[in-house]
Amino acid sequence: MIKVDGLVKTFGTTKAVDGISFEVANGETLALLGTSGCGKTTTLKMLNRLIEPDSGSIYINDKNILEENPEALRRGIGYVLQNNGLFPHYTVAENIAIVPQLLKWDKAKTDRRINELLGKLHLDKGHLTAYPSELSGGQQQRIGLARALVADPPVLLMDEPFGALDNVTRAKIHGEFKALDELKRKTIILVTHDVQEAFELADRIALMDKGKIVQIGTPAELLFAPKNNFVRDFLQEQRLQLEFRAIKISDLWEHLPTGGDKVKSPALSTELDLWSALEQFKFSKAETIQVKNSEDVIKAISFEQLMAAYAQYKTLQPHE
């Protein structure tokens, strides 16, 4: 668990981070969201002491990290950078093996771990002897992720990890990212300026402005219970899409009609968000999709029924 309290960092006369406090539970993904200059990256970098805070405290698993040896601390925290930061003079294998080498793992253990990660990240073994410049942007980013994960750190810090990728590649990696079981166990703090990315990947979002957290909460909380106009305006532009992303089928469950035509397609989980559910209509070309809740109740619903449920759900939300 990460516990941050009253963090302050001043550069010259500007307060980059102005008294930030938050907690992240084990296995949770928190997105620090905001425009450039809002202090989100500075906050992130204080967590592995790339930047030393002026005041405030940071505890990771009840240990005050400001009292730890910074190098030992960093070896235990995975870090993924926007432009991947791979060493251009190291091969892919050497890049991934940096932290194991610092931790003085033996070669067999390192090799075993690298092979394991390669499979999980859909990387080819042939890439191991290549240099980063010989790979595509998506591949480089996966290797950056492998490098951060190799020593299996409980905490992962990600600074705009997908910012340098094109939209298609980014969407693909987002999918892989969510599917990777290796990440599900980790406590992740993700910095992004991309609202959609935050909504798609994070359990909770801390929306920042001028060095402060304006609101922290689940995507739905931010969307439907914005604390002030700043939050509302920030999300306004892509509102509909964000809502589709934020609302899960389980949220709409009570508004969905029971019964309906049973089809043979497999039932989908109610943990699915509305956006993904809508996509199913496109892929399956069926009139209806089936969803199954945690109590194994199955409902078959059509596109129109889904949209009607959404409209009902919206009217029940507290007015903005």
Binding site: L50, R75, G85, L86, F87, P88, H89
Partner: protein, 523 residues
């Protein structure tokens, strides 16, 4: 003696031993200084990437060092470090510092910030970040700096011969003094080749891929050290005394060649420039030097001239050599220049030289004082009808004479004067004259005979009977060959002389050159 007709290849083959020795010394000088420069420059360059506030200062100082003319820098070194390899190496390393520090700094600051951040974030210590990330990635830039420094050093190392550190400069400056093109080329071509070869080899190292550089970094210091050691390969044979001769003296019949053939003198010899030779003798760096009999420093540094008992240094007249077309263009010129004829005796010239060389009076002041005393001085008429161009070689006596002629021409005629003083050697000043860059300069009949006309040995031996026969021969030949006229002699004789410190000569009972040889041969 007639080396001009000998092909360059022949000269180089004949001098192969010397050439090899000088080349090895040259490579050695270049790489010793380079090695030390890397030892200093690399850590300093790294340090200023950590303390950026100091980078301006450090790079500024290294930049200023770079702008000091090489000869001047070598000159500064002599009072501190004497002559020989030490000051040369220090001067060279100072030149090599800037490119090495600057490229180390640029290379390391140029490493992608994301990569550096990744290295730190992964838990590398500062030292690990430097060694595993910054240095390998900055290596191509650092190597480019070392490459620049190498080429600079190969070039500047030619000047090391001025302060007796050897190298290919011995041939180059000897050749310039002796008007011997083959000799210049025998030094200049290998020096240029060295620069090109090292530049090429280092460009290959630079292009090696990242992997191989890791290995190259380890062998580079070893290789540098090996190359540095070359300097010590041609270590000269030892002898009880050390002689320092000018490049010109080394190659002249009335110089070292005569000492060897007529006296059979064998002495450990280093080549050194006229400018620092006397000082080195006074400071006991050298025991025997080749000087000029009228040199003021003879008196200043308490040196004594060894008696030339076999007469290999015949006395020569000093007189202005003028272009014939200049004499036609400026009808009053000959008469004016001849005002000085016969007025300066040996002792007067020595006294005048003493004033400039030792009392550090300006040549202009010494010249004016003399003319006033001789009642020859007249106020500048501010003439505007044509400009007479005066040349001079690069030592005190010539500056004084050039000043005197300037004042005489300005005072007695309506001509204006442009001086091109300090032309570095007989070849340069003589070429300037024949190519119509100057109208006249003071020359010595012996130099005209041996260095310019390159008269055959037989003729020289016949002429050495008297000063006048030399003067007549030179006058006749110069008109015939170059359309240049020797005016009337100024009066003093300037001849080569071997000199020692008075005290040492007395202790060793050396009065003549034969005494010197006897002392050296005795066990």
């Amino acid at each position: 003696m007639n080396e001009q007709q000998q092909p360059l290849w022949g000269f180089m083959a004949q001098q192969a031993d010397k050439l090899a020795a000088q080349t090895l010394q040259h490579i050695g000088l270049t790489f010793i200084s380079l090695f030390i420069a890397v030892l200093i420059g690399l850590p300093l360059g790294i340090y200023i990437t950590r303390k950026k506030s100091l980078s301006g200062l450090v790079l500024g100082i290294a930049g200023v060092l770079q702008t000091i003319p090489s000869i001047a820098l070598l000159g500064f070194m002599i009072p501190l470090l004497g002559i020989g390899a030490k000051p040369a190496i220090v001067a060279l390393l100072l030149y090599a510092l800037l490119p090495i520090i600057r490229n180390t700094f640029t290379g390391i600051t140029g490493v992608d910030a994301t990569v550096k951040e990744a290295a730190v974030a992964m838990g590398m210590s500062k030292w690990q970040v430097l060694v595993k990330v910054e240095l390998p990635l900055a290596m191509p830039v650092i190597l480019a700096g070392i490459r620049t420094a190498t080429v600079i050093n190969v070039g500047v190392a030619t000047l090391a011969s001025y302060i007796a550190a050897g190298g290919l400069g011995e041939f180059i400056f000897g050749g310039i003094s002796l008007n011997n093109t083959n000799m210049i080329l025998a030094g200049a071509i290998p020096a240029a080749l060295l620069a090109i070869i090292f530049d090429f080899l280092l460009s290959l190292v630079q292009k090696l891929n990242f992997k191989k550089i890791k290995g190259a970094v380890k062998i580079a210091p070893v290789l540098l050290l090996l190359l540095s050691c070359l300097y010590f390969v041609p270590s000269a044979y030892g002898s009880k005394l050390t002689a320092g001769f000018t490049p010109e003296f080394m190659g002249r019949q009335d110089g070292n060649l005569g000492l060897q053939s007529k006296y059979g003198l064998k002495i450990h010899t280093i080549v050194i420039s006229d400018a620092v030779m006397y000082k080195a003798a006074q400071e006991k760096e050298l025991d025997v030097i080749s000087g000029y009999s009228t040199d003021g420093r003879l008196k200043a540094y308490d040196l004594v001239v060894l008696d030339d008992d076999k007469k290999i240094f015949p006395p020569y007249y000093a007189a202005p050599v003028v272009r014939e077309d200049a004499l036609r263009k400026f009808p009053q010129l000959e008469k004016t220049l001849n005002l000085l004829a016969g007025t300066i005796t040996d002792s007067v010239m020595t006294e005048l030289n003493y004033k400039t060389d030792y009392l550090h009076q300006s040549p202009e002041r010494v010249a004016k004082d003399f003319l006033v005393a001789k009642k020859l001085y007249r106020v500048d008429r501010g003439g505007k009808s044509g400009v007479v161009r005066i040349g001079s070689k690069i030592f005190g006596e010539q500056y004084i004479l050039a000043s005197m002629y300037t004042m005489l021409i300005k005072g007695y005629t309506d001509y204006d004067v442009a001086t091109k003083t300090g032309l570095g050697g007989t070849k340069i000043v003589f070429d300037a004259l024949t190519n119509d860059q100057i109208d006249f300069y003071p020359e010595y009949t012996g130099t005209g005979l041996l260095a310019i006309l390159q008269a055959p040995t037989k003729t020289v031996e016949q002429l050495q009977v008297s000063k006048d026969s030399t003067y007549n021969y030179v006058t006749r030949e110069f008109v015939k060959r170059y359309q240049l006229k020797w005016l009337r002699p100024i009066g003093f004789n300037n001849a080569y002389a071997l000199m020692m410190r008075q005290k040492q000569a007395k202790e060793l009972h050396i009065k003549t050159i034969t005494d010197l040889k006897r002392y050296l041969d005795s066990k």
